[in-house]
């Protein structure tokens, strides 16, 4: 299929957004390895097509809930590098003034209701956001991102039941990266994951999570239908995380092989796949894609330098924001 001219900008933006996520994660990992970042973080590298394919189908007014592996969702929903790196480093200019860190970045100006450090913890929040949309007659859609590991949480089944009963505009996006922390998905998930949604009468799809065009095409359709009140929907996105469960999970041989990791990085990489397609369709040459990538990596480096130099919050902020003020 020859791409339409009007879509060219969309394709290039999807490519850029995926490179942005990779650039963010490469830098975050380096900050960890150089002992410049407090705590740990969970890398999204390898899963970029999932967040970008879905978020490119959303409007700023649409909502998402994210996970402990949430940098990708945050970037894909429009967040800014500087505020994100500042948050990772616990700086005042971070999205959460340094109070949330990697696992709690929230960017409500772009509809990101926050990453969540409880596996499956945001399923209620996403479904509640969709309930609010229905009650207040707003046409926004909420996407709930979660991993295959989170399908073992009971909350999912409680809220899918209510979402289906009340036809809520929510899309459950299960990022199946093959591992629930340090355990293969086959060991923790009985039966088909999509069958669980189907049990509630929810239309469920499985899609190649490394193919941003396939993800986006499906997401566009489902988001539009959800907006019209035909939701909820469920998508299982087959993907892979390049790093361990978190940046400190270095020795992984006991649960997965180096050969498997190599195979995904070499032949299933979402950025490579999209780059090759853009080149083969004559939308962008390899050298043009390299310029895109170099520009983004430069921006990321600058944002890291900015964040390293940025101020920590004043100690008086420790008791700020425990309670919201009266409106």
């Amino acid at each position: 299929m020859r791409p339409k001219k009007t879509n060219i900008e969309d394709y290039l933006r999807m490519y850029r957004q995926m490179v942005k996520i990779r650039a963010f994660e490469d830098n975050a990992n380096k900050l960890y390895l150089d002992a410049k970042m407090p705590g740990l973080t969970h890398m999204y590298s390898g899963e970029e097509a999932v967040a970008v394919g879905i978020c490119e189908a959303l409007l700023v007014t649409d909502k998402i809930t994210s996970t402990h592996r949430g940098h990708g969702h945050c970037v894909a929903k429009g967040a800014d590098f500087k505020q994100m790196f500042c948050e990772l480093l616990g700086k005042e200019e971070g999205y959460c003034r340094g109070k949330g860190g990697s696992m709690h970045i929230a960017d409500q100006s772009n509809g990101n209701l926050g990453a969540n450090a409880i596996v499956g913890g945001s399923m209620g929040i996403a479904t509640g956001s969709a309930l609010r949309a229905k009650l207040l007659k707003s046409d926004d859609v909420t996407v709930c991102f979660f991993g295959d590991g989170a399908t073992a949480q009971g909350l999912l089944y409680e809220v899918m039941n209510m979402a289906a009963l009340w036809k809520l505009p929510v899309i459950y996006a299960c990022e199946n990266n093959g591992y629930s922390e340090y355990t293969t998905t086959e060991e923790i998930a009985a039966g088909k994951i999509t069958a669980r949604a189907e049990a509630f009468g929810i239309e469920a799809h499985q899609v190649d999570g490394q193919d941003v065009l396939a993800v986006n095409a499906l997401a566009q359709k489902l988001v539009q239908r959800a907006r019209k009140g035909e939701g909820p929907f469920f998508i299982e996105l087959m993907t892979y995380r390049y790093h361990g469960h978190h940046v400190g999970d270095i020795n992984r041989a006991y649960y997965r092989t180096k050969e498997e990791e190599f195979e995904w990085k070499e032949n299933r990489d979402p950025i490579k796949i999209m780059g090759q397609w853009l080149a083969s369709e004559g939308i962008a040459s390899e050298s043009e894609l390299k310029v895109i990538s170099d520009t983004i990596y430069t921006e990321a480096n600058e944002a890291v330098e900015y964040a390293l130099a940025a101020a920590y919050p004043d100690v008086s902020e420790v008791t700020m924001h425990v309670y919201a003020e009266a409106s």
């Binding site: 003034r97 209620g124 919201a324 409106s327």
Partner: protein, 331 residues
Amino acid sequence: MRQITLSQAVNEAIAEEMRRDPTIFLIGEDVAEAGTPFKVTAGLVEEFGTERVIDTPISEPGFMGMAVGAAMTGSRPIVDLMFGDFLFLIMDQLCNQAAKAHYMSGGKLNVPLVLRTNLGATRRSAAQHSQSLHALVAHVPGLKVALPSSAYEAKGLLKTAIRDNNPVVFIEDKLMYQDKASVPEEEYLIPFGQANIVREGRDVTLVATSSMRQVCEKAADLLSEDGISAEIIDPRTIVPLDETTILSSVKKTSRAIVVDEGHQSYGVAAEIASIISEKAFYHLDAPVIRMGAMDVPVPFSPVLEDLTVPTPELVAQNARKIVFGEMIHGL
């Protein structure tokens, strides 16, 4: 002034607020046509419809979590949790999500919701429908906790809770639903963090939460027969807590008993007693006494269950001991 029950007071507060603000909705198990097992929300569905009075499946973590998401994005949910004992079921959504969202987001996300539930033993409901678990939620920063002690208090405090921009846990004593009190027709709100001096006295301060207020009022009557004048303070909200009123009272009377229906160990009574000991120590003439529920699961058999909660007689007995100086010999 007209007399209405605590149940009616709660119902009126919800109805008035729902009329005022279309973003408020009520959600929980059997809140619509059934009006809850205690009939507290009866009639609301007729006025506001099933869109705003929402019956859920028996999925407490599910609807609690949904209330959090709805609150974050522009609604103001009132969640009905049928029994306070079910707090254990929703702890993640309440304490990890609702309580922390504002802080973790650096003030960007608000979670304006009210979780209504209940406490109270002696209803012959055994260990899983009789607990008073407010200490659990009071322990978690980010939650406010209100404990109405009468119909009047319930209406004024609930209206304040609904207008608050934070998650508020509002816990009614289920044995008080039919208790009547004078409640004005005209609108009033009771601010959080302002204790009520229920009765003024000279010799001993009785700090009493929720229905322990009635227990302490009866105790005070018994004590007056012995010439002991008891002052009763109802904190109204334990988060925020009005320390000033409690400490002023203790500084006047020099003695204090804190009575709360939660388990006595590691509880609300212990916290308030500790504050008194730390901040009014040199004004005290006797040790501060905690009185809570016995540290046992609530038993079913009436002869056993009645032993587990503070009674007017026990409060009066303790008050006599500290007023007459028997404490030096130990209780």
